[in-house]
Amino acid sequence: MASSSGNDDDLTIPRAAINKMIKETLPNVRVANDARELVVNCCTEFIHLISSEANEICNKSDKKTISPEHVINALESLGFASYITEVKDVLQECKTVALKRRKASSRLENLGIPEEELLRQQQELFAKARQQQAELAQQEWMQMQHAAQQAQMAAASASAAQQASSSQDEDEEDDM
């Protein structure tokens, strides 16, 4: 049901969600289509009702954000006090979830190392590793050079020795 008009007033709770709830509340009951449509629209009205009331209460309280307290008071003043107990259970769960999240993050902090420090240490390790690699590469290079030099020298002395022996032969011939 894509509406290109984008009209705010067309916002409703998805039909499927309402149907599911009706089915769970009234199992085995046949519900007329226009009745379902009506429930969907009633939902939107209800949300507007609660928001407006909670908003008014919020404005009177000097706070800028509608809080759970404001919503609860709104329910009370609009005659829906019977909902409050169950609604408060949800609030308790919210707090539990928030508490668990805080505990999880503080456990990491309790290592004694804040995140920035861990990051810094990581960078240090990377830098060290890079340096070690560079040193290793240089060592290998120098070894290769050294080996090459030695090979050169060996070749040079070998040819020098050959030359020396050939010139000795010439001298011997002169003496005869």
Binding site: L11, T25, L26, A35, V39, E45, I47, S67, L78, F80
Partner: protein, 112 residues
């Protein structure tokens, strides 16, 4: 950590994001605390259950296990806390009432 969010989702069946959009489309409503949003969503769920259940129990379809539009309309009329819904319910006027009001209007016109 995502398991905590799932626990909360189990208690709430309506889409929280949609509820938030509807709330924000209310005039003058600025910011809503996240927990307040969850509360409103839960309250709306309870409302649906309440409306469906009392309409069925007070309605004429109990024996036939049906819920009709008029069951809902009647419950809204009979329950004071639900009177905020009368505007979205086209009133079911009895034919005789309509005719009577029509006669009244004609009489008024006749006075000139």
């Amino acid at each position: 950590m995502s398991q905590n969010k799932d626990d909360l989702k189990k208690t709430i069946s309506l889409p929280v994001s949609r509820v938030r959009l509807i709330m924000k489309s209310s005039p003058d409503v600025s910011s809503i605390n996240q927990d307040a949003l969850f509360l409103t969503t839960k309250a709306t769920e309870l409302f649906v259950q309440h409306l469906a259940l009392s309409s069925f129990n007070n309605g004429s379809g109990k024996e036939t296990k049906t819920l009709s539009y008029s069951d809902l309309a009647n419950t809204v009329e009979d329950t004071e806390t639900l009177h905020f819904l009368t505007d979205i319910l086209p009133k079911k006027i009895l034919a005789q009432d309509y005719l009577r009001s029509l006669e009244q209007m004609q009489e008024e016109d006749g006075d000139f």
